[in-house]
């Protein structure tokens, strides 16, 4: 994600606060559609489609991320056709309301996920932290977010080494035996605690007194950022209030 966010694309240079606000407004607008309004929801695809093209991000990469979030959405959505057996008129056809609400739920899930993926794929973590600070999210929380983010890779490598060493000593065994649950994860925990001490000492030696600069001086608000914000808020409002898809369809 860091590599994606660090690319020299036009969208990547938009102010992080602007992108964060647009993303939140977009998700709020998407989830506020009624549960049968799949035609109105379809119009909301305009934002992810446009940003995918502008940022030159891979659509398939974002689809892969759906595997975490879709199971619960599908579990809830799949029950709708079973319990909602009424029919709704859609374009002159009688359609099962349960099927419509299931489709709308899945569309909402996919669109919201794509929007948050596009935010993080075009915004480095440090600049996003800067946006959080501008929103007056407490310093402790933002610093802790950034440190956790930075140390995930370090500790993941350590966990991988431990599990690999265990697997080599216990061939053919799936997972970690319950007799060593405590000592295996506990060793990793104690090492993490020791590492935290080292991290703190090295941060202090580099002048840490409880705060990072968060690059605020390098992030100035340009007129393009304002135009980006107004444009997308206008588009989101338009597609939320006016049934653009139906209107265009009737004209065509």
């Amino acid at each position: 994600m860091d590599t994606l966010a660090a690319r020299d694309q036009w969208v990547n240079h938009v102010h992080p606060l602007v992108k964060f606000i647009v993303t939140l407004c977009y998700i709020a607008a998407v989830v506020s559609f009624s549960k049968y309004d799949i035609v109105g929801l379809a119009g909301m695809a305009v934002y992810p489609v446009a940003v995918f093209i502008l940022s030159e991000n891979s659509f398939l990469d974002s689809v892969r991320r759906l595997r975490f979030v879709l199971p619960l959405v599908c579990l809830v959505g799949i029950c709708n056709p079973l319990f909602d057996k009424s029919t709704v008129m859609l374009g002159g056809m009688a359609v099962s309301a349960g099927i419509l609400s299931m489709a709308a739920l899945i569309m909402k899930g996919v669109f919201a996920l794509m929007a948050s993926y596009l935010l993080i794929a075009t915004t480095p973590a440090e600049t996003l932290c800067c946006a959080f600070r501008m929103l007056h999210i407490p310093r402790i929380l933002v610093t802790q977010f950034l440190l956790t983010y930075r140390y995930i890779t370090v500790l993941l490598e350590e966990a991988e080494r431990i599990t690999q060493a265990y697997a080599l000593r216990a061939p053919g065994q799936k997972g970690v035996h319950f007799k060593v649950w405590g000592s295996l994860a506990g060793q990793l925990l104690l090492r993490s605690m020791d590492r935290a001490e080292e991290v703190y000492e090295s941060m202090q030696l580099r002048g840490y007194r409880g705060d990072f600069g968060y690059m605020r001086e390098r992030l100035s608000f340009r007129w393009q950022d304002g135009a980006y914000l107004i444009f997308w808020l206008g588009v989101i409002l338009l597609f939320r209030v006016v049934p653009v898809v139906s209107v265009v369809g009737s004209i065509v």
Binding site: I27, I120, T148, V176, S192
Partner: protein, 332 residues
């Protein structure tokens, strides 16, 4: 248990954001009071540890499947409830933004369902009371299993309530709860045992790392003012949000009246009834819990908040009068 954005309505998401933000603001205040700059790096690394520990597959004997440890309770047992809660928020933010596990709009719900229950309920109501008279392996195991089971049950129940309040599913309350609660009972038991194993190891290797009730004696005690503010905020949230789902069906008295008299409201005959009725009509700002001439949800929510404020004002006024006359009587 991570909720996606599609499962929540903006009203529910906003409400839970406010609740989680209030808990976070209180935690930030508590952690700042520690004035320990070392705590933030430790929180950061421990947050990363929770991710790393998710990578380890703990085999559940006899099933062939695997489980993970419970982050909220583990972090709180090591860092205390407030720092643990803030660390969990960081973990959930990263899961949401980097791993698409949970939605950005539903982040407030996820913080409430997982971090709030895991850190505050699990630690303040279970871990600390059980450790008050000293720690032992058995106590740590019992507290971990009880804490994990209870907090996961509360979290799963909140998922059910939040999804139903958002109106995105046709699943009846009973069926939805019957699916989620037993699954999370099993998950809670397994996570509790794994968390217990890790905490027992830490207790034997480095017991000073574990949180104990005497570490921060001031914590857990609310002043009268804080209690009143929390209760007031809860009342406003409940009145504002839940009044949207207020039943249009008659209440018990109205139902009985309808059965007996054929109408939910009796028409008073006579000039006294008419005069009283016209006074009530003229003075009631929010008839039938809504704006005059308005059937909107916003009107209902507003009337809920105003009603709540009126009841609180009446209650405070009545108590003040009671205290005033009681003191006067004692003085006499």
């Amino acid at each position: 248990m991570h909720m996606a954005d599609a499962l929540v309505s903006p009203a529910v998401a906003g409400t839970l954001y406010v609740c989680s933000a209030a808990a976070a603001a209180y935690s930030v205040k508590q952690v700042r009071m520690d004035a320990d700059t070392k705590k933030v790096p430790v929180m950061g690394v421990m947050g990363a540890f929770v991710f790393a520990a998710q990578m380890i597959n703990f085999t559940i004997p006899g099933t062939g499947s695997s489980g993970h440890l419970c982050g909220g309770l583990l972090l709180s047992a090591l860092l205390g409830p407030y720092a643990g809660f803030l660390t969990m928020i960081g973990v959930l933010m990263i899961q949401c933004l980097l791993f698409a596990d949970g939605g950005l709009l539903a982040l407030g719900c996820n913080i409430w369902n997982m971090a709030f229950y895991g850190c505050f309920v699990g630690t303040l109501l279970i871990w600390r009371p059980m450790m008050r008279k000293g720690m032992s392996r058995a106590k740590i195991t019992a507290a971990s299993v009880t804490g994990c089971v209870l907090t996961l049950q509360l979290g799963a129940f909140s998922v059910v309530l939040e999804t139903l309040a958002s109106g995105v599913t046709e699943l009846p309350f009973g069926a939805f709860a019957a699916v989620l609660q037993p699954i999370h009972l099993a998950i809670g038991l397994v996570e509790g045992l794994i968390t217990a194993a890790v905490l027992v190891f830490v207790y034997e290797a480095r017991p000073e790392l574990l949180d104990s009730p005497d570490r921060e004696t001031r914590e857990g005690r609310f002043s009268f003012r804080t209690t009143m503010v929390v209760l007031g905020a809860a009342a406003v949230v409940i009145a504002g949000l839940l009044s949207l789902t207020a039943s249009s069906l008659p209440d018990g008295l109205e139902w009985s009246m309808e059965r007996v008299a054929g109408s939910a409201e009796l028409d008073g005959a006579g000039s006294v009834y008419q005069a009283a009725g016209s006074i009530q009509e003229a003075t009631s700002l929010l008839p039938d819990y809504g704006w005059k001439g308005s059937e909107s949800a916003a009107g209902t929510a507003f009337s809920g908040i105003v009603g709540c404020a009126a009841v609180v004002a009446l209650c405070v006024g009545a108590c003040w009068l009671f205290r005033f006359f009681r003191k006067k009587k004692q003085y006499e």
